[in-house]
Amino acid sequence: MEFSQLIQRKQRRWNLFAIVATLSLVFLSIIYLMVGEVLISPFSEVTPLMEKLVLQLRFPRLLTAIAIGAALAVSGAVLQVLLGNVLAEPGVLGISGGASVMMVLVMFFLPMFATPIGFMVSAVAGALLFTLLLVFFARSARLTTTRLLLVGVALGILSGAVVTWAFYFSDELSLRQLMYWLMGSVGGASWHHHILTLFLIPVLVWLCFKGQVLDKLMMGELHAKQLGIDVEAVRWKLILAVSVLVGGAVALGGIIGFVGLVVPHLLRLALGSENRYLLPLSALSGATLLVFADIIARTSLESAELPLGVVTTTIGAPVFIWMLVKNHDSH
């Protein structure tokens, strides 16, 4: 078979999967809007209550789940390329921990900034700070990627400690707010939260178009450089973009783990590593996964709901262990 035909055949597989993922996202979204305390069928008569339920509660919440899923999956995929390690993930590396620490600090010491925008800014600043710390360690101490991962885990523990301190000293109200961030939940989503989403969309689209650069970067920095990629400049832009996405996702829904790890990894296993397709498809599949997980979170308990972060972690952690044991990553 000719070379270009081989390439085209791969492209067709990606396209096919893109259609499947889009359809399942649409399908799950419709189910998402239907199920809940009150089952709403699109064919039944619409009462004002139902309209309110869908427009004011379920729809903004659905969009939050989609935004978080897409943002986390794409930032996971990009981080993996940046650090040259298929096990990198914003949660595992402590970057979302950094975002949550900053938000906790703002909540305690600067309560007047505890608005969605204030949280967004502090979460992005925290994510950026921890990413910079990681990159600084990686470069100054010439860490191997394995060690880098360990430093990330340590940063995660550190942020966990700060949050626990905050927990200990908090009163009734802020305790509940804290619980909400820690477990990861989109239960409080409303339309005004989506000011954040408006900031995330351009970053997400920009990253999805960086696939070709990431493809070359994936093959090693030296090779990328000789192929004409200005590695240093690109790296900083990507780090900034990832921090914005992770910070935004944490500000929207708290810490939701393993989406950024599991989604890109399974896509790589199933379809290949071409970032041009992997990034947009990660966004689609991440959104689908989170919508699915939130359906479970909302409906599995009779009278209450599970935190979304607990559901994704329960799905993700066994997959993570399986990946480590199978050593599916490399070599």
């Binding site: 000719e2 070379f3 270009s4 081989l6 390439i7 791969k10 390329v81 040259g84 390690n85 298929v86 990627t145 493809d215 070359k216 994936m218 093959m219 090693g220 030296l222 090779h223 450089k225 000789q226 192929l227 004409g228 990629i229 200005d230 790589r268 290949g272 590593s273 071409e274 990553d329 490399s330 070599h331």
Partner: protein, 251 residues
């Protein structure tokens, strides 16, 4: 033509000047740590350096990384990426963006190179499943795609850092055949090498380095003398004639 004038990198490479004609093959030899890789990185514009280097009229130090990529290709010493993808996809990354639309040209060039490097049946293999020698031939194929004149009319220079290291003697033969073919198309080839007998028979010009200082530069017969090699490599060297071809024998 490549013109190098007082090119230097800190104390690792002291100023050296030489010119290499179009289509010539230059071998850079010397003991480990003598500055071969440093010289190649500096020439390819990937390392901060002093002095000047010109690829035809292009000033290497003043050019953007992007421009350089279309004038020269640089094969570093082997490293395997953490990510797995199939060989065809890896090759696709090296094909210049301007040439990608012309699929018939791309197809025939890839076919020609895959045939030269005996990779025809490996295009669908994941790169993590390749042996060391196969991976090196895939990298060679990719680096050639970047400067193959049918895909990239700007190309002038191919730089290879120990390209023969992971290859067996049969595959080494393929490599030198490929290098000669590239040179015959008018592209200058600069490579570092450890196999001095190969240098003797396959180089047009030889640069001998020791501790970052140029020792000799010229035709293989004049550089590869018993005394000079014995002095620089600190070992015994004897030149013998086998089938009326000179062969170096080391202690």
């Amino acid at each position: 033509m490549i013109r190098i004038n007082s090119l230097s990198v800190g104390s690792r490479l002291l100023p050296l000047s030489l010119t290499i004609e179009k289509g010539q093959v230059l071998h850079v030899i010397g003991p480990n740590g003598s500055g071969k890789s440093t010289f190649l990185s500096a020439l390819s514009g990937l390392l901060e350096c002093g002095g000047t280097a010109f690829i035809d009229e292009l000033d290497v130090r003043q050019s953007s990384i992007e421009t350089l990529a279309s004038y020269r290709a640089f094969l570093s010493q082997s490293d395997r990426p953490a990510f797995n993808l199939i060989v065809a996809q890896y090759l696709m990354l090296s094909i210049p963006a301007s040439a990608q639309a012309d699929t018939t040209q791309v197809d025939s060039t890839v076919r020609e190179l895959a045939c030269l490097l005996e990779l025809e049946d490996k295009l669908l293999r994941p790169i993590h499943h390749l042996s060391g020698g196969e991976w090196q031939r895939v990298r060679l194929c990719a680096i050639c795609l970047q400067i193959w004149p049918t895909l990239n009319p700007n190309a002038k220079l191919l730089i290879l850092d120990e390209p023969a290291a992971p290859l067996d003697i049969g595959q080494e033969g393929l490599l030198y055949k490929l290098i000669r073919k590239v040179a015959d198309m008018g592209i200058t080839v600069v490579m570092s090498n450890h196999d001095l007998n190969r240098t003797m028979h396959n180089a047009d010009k030889v640069l001998l380095l020791e501790n970052g200082v140029i020792q000799q530069c010229g035709a293989p017969e004049t550089v590869l003398t018993e005394e000079e090699l014995a002095r620089v490599f600190k070992t015994q060297v004897t030149k013998a004639l086998v089938d009326s071809k000179p062969v170096l024998i080391f202690d």
